[in-house]
Amino acid sequence: MTEHRPTIKWIALGVCLAAGIAIGVLTDSLSERDNPGLFLLLTGVAGTVVLLPATILYWRSLDELAREAHKSSWYWGGSLGLVATLPVLIVFIETIRRDGLDLKELEPEIAMLMGVSGTLIVVLGGMLLGYLLAWGIFWFRKR
C-alpha cells in the first residue's frame, strides 16, 4: 500500500522547481558558450540525474488517491488536451499560409526550429492545460 508522506512530497517538488529554474537559466546562457551543443547535452544529462530520483521520490510520497488523480489526469487530460490542439495547429498553419510567411525564405535550420518548437509548444501546452484541468476536476469531484 502506498504511504502519504507530505514532507518528502514537498521536498521533491522543491527540488524539481529548483532544477527547472537552473535548467532555464543555464539554457538561457547558451549563446555565450563556446560549445553550445555539448553544453546543452550536459545540462540535459545533469537535469535528468537530478529530476529522475526527485520524481520517483515524489511518486512514492503520494497515497493511492493522489496517484489516481495523476493517472486519471494523464489519460483524460493529456489525451483530450492533445486532441484539442489539432484545431489550434490547423489555424496556426493556415495563418502562416494566409499571411504569406514563406518559411522557404528563412534559413532551413531556423525554419525547422520554428516549426518544431512551435508545434511542441502548442501540443505540450495543450496537454499540460488538459492535465491541469482534469486534475482540478478530479479533486473537485472527490471533495
Binding site: M1, E3, H4, P6, D63, E64, L65, A66, E68, W139, R141, K142, R143
Partner: protein, 68 residues
Amino acid sequence: MDNRLRVLRAERRWTQADLAKELGVSRQTINAIEGGKYDPSLPLAFKISRLFALQIEQIFDDGETSHD
C-alpha cells in the same frame, strides 16, 4: 460503495486527520472514502478493517451482501 467509516471514526472521536495519520493516507482520501466517492484499494481496505478490528464486510457494503 457505501461504508460505515464516518460512524466508526466518530465513535472513537477521531478527526479525519487522526484517521488519515493512522492509515498513512491524506485527509482528502479519508474524506473521499467517507463520502462514497472513492473505493479504497484492497490493501487499504484491509488496513482499515484491522484498525477497527472488524471484517471488511462490516465496514464496506457493495450492495450485494446478504443480510440474512
